[in-house]
Amino acid sequence: MLTIGLTHYLVLAAVLFCCGLYVMTTKRNAVGILIGAELVLNAACLNLVAFSRYRTGRLDGQIAALFVIVLAAAEAAIAIAIFVNYYRLLSTIDADEGRQLRG
């Protein structure tokens, strides 16, 4: 317990993953779901870095984590743009396009 190793990081990442999964499944808010996805992505990054440090000893895990961070940023940008677009249309009073998708 006193020496910190791979297992510690992996379990912490698993906690993050499950928190993210819970947020994604229960929140009814678009930004909330996005935040859940970010938590899961962070868990994945933590895994990658921990494996790279304690198991493979190679740089590839860190590089992969770097790419995942960039992907998360890109995904957040496009998601927020879509939310804003949706909100813009929702707030305009436009009667001829009233039908909503069922679900």
Partner: protein, 544 residues
């Protein structure tokens, strides 16, 4: 500086040559943007450039196809490293497939623009275009090509996101459509969730096997399984968990159960050109990736292992459920776009059935499934472009895609109604149409592999029962077109370009079902043979 360059590897021109289709596509993206910068926002000009790029891409792919021989080629990685991208017959087929589809979609868009211009003021909603639209379309195509052309898990993730992120935006391309905005919202939320889970799965696989290369993962996992001895079924839970999480992302792309909820809503809300694009390209790329993963894992585990069997069962069950859910849900729909959306879910299920074959213990028959899917995809492309194209022509005219818009189409526009009927009958799988050929090859592939995996007979039965169910909702559209009529409805004036596209599809479907029946099977078999495999097994350092 000199020292740094001496140690740095750069790709050779021969390697870059091999990946010229991707380069052409990237060049087209840049060209669309630069021309818009110089010549101003002219949507039709952008469309022309994109169309030209797609045709150039076809040429580049045809050129690469001659270079790529047996076993394929890997490249774009320093010597000693596993390849980042690979080019084999399967990936070349996908590139050609996507370029042809891209050209058809842009053609459909051009037709739609002319159509909308003809009735300029009547309906502003539905007007999409501009350089952004084509940049997003082409970028998603680039991502889909890379999805099928790599064995590196990191590249696969990035390729999937490159295919997905522009697709999310393009669904809301019609900025006045509230339905489109809502569809994009649903799409991006489902997509973000499944992509995150997938990345977590990749991190587990990386940790388990210490590599991001799928080929090395396959070899390590089969080695581990054989170490456990044939009889003892020790399950490598971390591997299974990683694979399952990776599968979530793939299943989302295919829109198979249980990640299919986004599909009908997105298909209904998106502009119809994009619906056509997503219904074919996104599913094809997802299936290609699935087949790639399964063949790599199954190919390394010569003789089959406990894990590959589990994987085959999982895929088989998902395929059967997907197929049934898609067909049953389609029965209750009133919107033609939604009917076709559920039908595309069902067809994804049929094609996924073939993916369950590939882990069959008989090593020599390993490519039967791929050749069945290749044949199916070719026919599926024609059927869906034809059906969605015809639906688009009617929708632009009537302003709605409700079933009632198709009333009396046999009289009002026979040149749409007849090819649409051909496409729908082909989607059912009736002879003498292409859809029958596709289903025939699929069922034969399942049947011949059933010697090794007897439960594949179950899939055959499910496929046949589902075909019978699907007859009902396809025939409903046909009945609406030919057996009901309302004399007050006027004849349809439709642009020639759209008619040409739809009729060409119908004629080719008819030809495939008759004259080109066996050539299709042979061609597909050749495309599916001698895929890329890791030439030398890398050194394995695996902890139990």
């Amino acid at each position: 500086m000199k020292l740094l360059l001496a140690n740095t590897w750069l790709p050779t021109s021969a390697e870059l040559h091999l990946f010229s289709p991707e380069l052409v596509l990237t060049g087209t993206i840049v060209a669309v943007l630069l021309v818009a910068l110089v010549a101003g926002r002219r949507p039709q000009l952008s469309a022309m450039i994109a169309l030209l790029g797609a045709l150039l891409g076809v040429l580049a792919t045809a050129h690469v196809a001659r270079v790529v021989g047996d076993g394929g080629l890997g490249g774009l990685a320093p010597p000693g490293e596993p390849p980042m991208l690979i080019a084999d017959r399967f990936s070349v087929f996908f590139k050609l497939f996507l370029f042809v589809l891209l050209a058809a979609i842009i053609w459909l868009w051009l037709t739609g623009t002319i159509e909308r211009r003809m009735r300029a003021t009547s309906r502003p909603v539905g007007d999409v275009g501009g350089p952004e639209f084509f940049v997003l379309l082409l970028t998603s195509a680039l991502g889909m090509m890379l999805m099928v052309g790599s064995l590196n898990l990191l590249v696969i993730i990035i390729a999937m996101e490159t295919a997905s992120l522009p697709s999310y935006a393009i669904v809301a391309a019609d900025r006045r459509s509230r339905l489109g905005a809502e569809a994009a919202l649903k799409y991006v939320l489902f997509g973000a969730a499944s992509a995150a889970i997938m990345v977590y799965g990749v991190s587990l696989l990386y940790g388990r096997f210490g590599t991001l290369d799928l080929g090395a993962v396959a070899q390590a996992s089969s080695l581990w399984s054989h170490q456990q001895d044939a009889g003892a079924t020790g399950t490598d839970w971390l591997f299974c968990l990683g694979l399952a999480a990776l599968g979530v992302g793939v299943v989302f792309k295919i829109a198979a159960v249980p990640m299919h909820y986004w599909c009908p809503d997105v298909f209904e809300g998106a502009p119809i050109e994009i619906t056509t694009w997503l219904s074919i390209a996104s599913k094809a790329a997802g299936l290609g990736l699935l087949l790639r993963i399964v063949t790599t894992l199954g190919g390394a585990a010569a003789g089959g292992t406990h894990h590959t069997e589990l994987l085959a069962w999982a895929i088989g069950i998902l395929a059967a459920v997907t197929c049934t859910v898609g067909n049953l849900a389609a029965l209750r729909q009133e919107s033609v776009k939604r009917i076709l959306a559920y039908s595309s879910i069902a067809h994804a299920g049929y094609m996924m059935m073939a993916a369950a074959i590939l882990v069959a213990p008989a090593g020599t028959a390993a490519n039967v499934g791929i050749s069945a899917v290749v044949a199916y995809l070719l026919v599926y492309l024609l059927m869906n472009v034809g059906a969605f194209g015809a639906a688009a022509l009617v929708t632009w005219h009537a302003g709605t895609d409700h079933l009632s818009a198709f009333t009396g189409l046999g009289r009002r526009a026979p040149w749409i109604a007849v090819p649409l009927a051909v496409c729908l009958f082909s989607l059912v799988g009736l002879p003498p149409l292409g859809g029958f050929a596709a289903k025939w090859f699929l069922l034969v592939a399942l049947g011949t592999s059933a010697a090794a995996q007897p439960w594949l007979w179950g899939l055959v039965v499910i496929a046949v029962v589902n075909t019978a169910i699907s007859l009902y909702y396809y025939v409903r559209i046909i009945r609406q077109m030919f057996l009901t009529d309302d004399a007050t409805l006027p004849r349809l004036q439709v642009p020639f370009g759209g008619l040409a596209l739809v009729n060409v599809c119908a004629v080719v479907i008819l030809l495939i079902g008759t004259l080109w029946f066996s050539p299709l099977g042979e061609r597909a078999g050749r495309l599916a043979s001698n895929l890329y495999v890791q030439p030398t097994p890398p050194a394995l350092t695996l902890q139990p």
